[in-house]
Amino acid sequence: MLLVNLLLALVWATLTGNMSVKNLGLGFLLGYVVLFISRNALGTRLYSIRVYRAVAFLFFFMWELLVANLRVALDVISPGTRLRPALLAIPLDATTNAEITTLANLITLTPGTMTLDVSTDKRVLYIHDMHVRDPDGARRHIKLLERKLLEVLR
């Protein structure tokens, strides 16, 4: 709780562009209020996220994003030829809501794949993949991403 509050204070300070102690204090106070307001919204699990690792992962991911985007560019320019779209079910190792959500977001941001939904029992992730020649290969690719992510998160 304290951690999140401090984090919010930091966000506040960066937003306002004023890193003075006074402003940080105000940010802490406001963060406390915000957290109080959203006390029901924040489940306990969120606190366990190690935010800095997540951020680091995000930057790594952006690079991959940039590179692989070129492939999509080709698809866009000539959509008819290379597309093999498919809707796939991916069994999940991720268990918490935060993990699943993060994974889902990353899949969407990864070129060629896009999360469609999570089964109600949280055991399967459904995705849309534009270039499926081999469904199991595609599934393996996603599982790789999941493993990497879980390494960061756990």
């Binding site: 919010l8 937003l15 915000v34 029901n40 809501n97």
Partner: protein, 136 residues
């Protein structure tokens, strides 16, 4: 019917939106923003919660129910103007704690109070409409 991804994301997004709403609101007198936009963003945060969960859950978040927020907001807004009336000045005349301070640092003044009223009303109104429609 609930989307797991959305509801998880909403937990993170909502505090951020609320924070931004306060940010926009407090800056309002000196930069773009103010009570109206602040109130709308705050209400949007609550609306997101309505979509991700439901009205009942969103209602539990609120310190002040929308009806009350509207009435209190109106009262604050009008009250900030009436204060001047009580001091023998025309309605809505700005009263400042430190009126002679240079360059926009006059501290607290009734116009800011007025903007708080606006914030509350806008927030209350939007939330009330969204709640009512979503519950219907």
């Amino acid at each position: 019917m609930k989307s797991l991804i959305l509801s998880t994301a909403a937990r993170l997004l909502m505090p951020l939106m609320l924070l931004f709403s306060i940010f926009v609101f407090t800056r309002g007198h000196n930069a773009p923003g103010g009570g109206f936009i602040g109130g709308l963003v705050a209400a949007s945060a609550v609306s997101l919660y309505v979509v991700a969960y439901n009205v009942a859950a969103a209602r539990r978040l609120l310190i002040m129910q929308p009806h009350t927020a509207i009435a209190v907001g109106l009262l604050i807004a009008a009250g900030s103007g009436i204060l001047a009336l009580l001091r023998g000045k025309p309605l809505m005349t700005g009263l400042w704690l430190n009126p002679n301070a240079a360059g926009g640092s006059a501290g607290i003044g009734t116009p800011l109070l007025f903007d708080i009223g606006v914030f509350l009303v806008v927030f209350g109104v939007t939330v009330l409409i969204v709640f009512t429609l979503a519950e219907d």
